[in-house]
Symmetry: C2
Subunit: 190 residues, 2 copies
């Protein structure tokens, strides 16, 4: 396949924005796959801040980082990304180069615990304040579940309203697939 | 800027699908920029077929190729891409790896001469027959003009209806910009 799938393209975007020694944020650790990916991108001189409201997700991420020898440069918070300004030190302001959100529910977890539009938007707003120029936020939007459609509509209305002088907002997705496949929205700070 | 703009991303897609010795199609030569780009991708062992309904476009493309020493492996047709099956030799069937369309009017030319949905769709259908597996068609959709909106809606309805078992259809575009910026639709044959 020549066209990049959704998850590979999310990683291409993160890798274009985040490099050795940078600061990055995984706003939804889930099973820790993206946390590990970011930890490897920033290397031993960088740092990753990871958030999840479910303790199972924090535990799974912690385990994944440990078995891959990447635990030392990651800080995990059992907290909502909506409050990330209360957790990320002020000294990091302007240094965050990338962030990722996987919206929806924890794969393999409780499907009634889902991300919500208002907290997602609140986290994006905080990140836009904290991030440096050319930093990129990648949202992978899952909207196969009912609440996912509500969140999708709220988040899309918000990102479309962002000032084009302040940020670029890109949408990337496959449009001939059944069953509401996930798609990407990427926000770059100008 | 970390996120690729529309025209750079169109070229990234073409370069991912088309290589040395391949066959490619510029369905709308215009001022010849993409024809030259494709001619360089396929190299001296490949070939590019270029179409345009305006003789000014064919002349401009011919000139651009000549001054860049890329004229020898390009065949230009002063004809509609809707008829490309009548112009591209049968021996090329299965060998075409990439094609590009810049929909709308000739930049700097007569703005009343525009591409139309039915001929664009007819050309896409022909290409899908002629192309090999993993070949990619890139459409750059300009919809700032009134007829462009009509063509956009016709083309989008068509590509969304394509069988996901036969092709991948990707949409790539910036969604917080004013004045109807162009966007990309890419179709990969499975």
């Amino acid at each position: 396949m020549k066209l990049q799938g959704i998850l590979p393209f999310a990683r291409t975007l993160l890798a274009s924005a985040v490099g050795e020694g940078d600061i990055a944020v995984d706003a939804t650790c889930g099973n820790g796959n993206d946390t590990l990916f970011l930890a490897r991108l920033v290397g031993k001189d960088g740092h990753v801040f990871g958030f999840d409201i479910q303790i199972e997700a924090i535990a799974a991420t912690n385990h994944k980082l440990e078995v891959n020898n990447c635990r030392q440069n990651v800080t995990l918070f059992h907290a909502s990304h909506a409050e990330l300004k209360n957790y990320i030190p002020d000294t990091m302001k302007g240094k965050i180069k990338g962030a990722v959100f996987n919206l929806g529910y924890l794969p393999g977890g409780n499907k009634t615990i889902v991300t919500k539009g208002d907290s997602t938007i609140s986290a994006i707003e905080s990140l836009l304040e904290l991030m440096g120029k050319e930093a990129v936020i990648v949202l992978v939007i899952y909207h196969g579940h009912e609440q996912g459609k509500v969140e999708r509509d709220e988040v899309m209305a918000y990102v479309k309203s962002l000032d084009q002088q302040a940020v670029h907002v890109l949408q990337y997705g496959f449009i001939n697939q059944k069953n509401n496949p996930p798609f990407i929205v990427a926000i770059e700070k100008r």
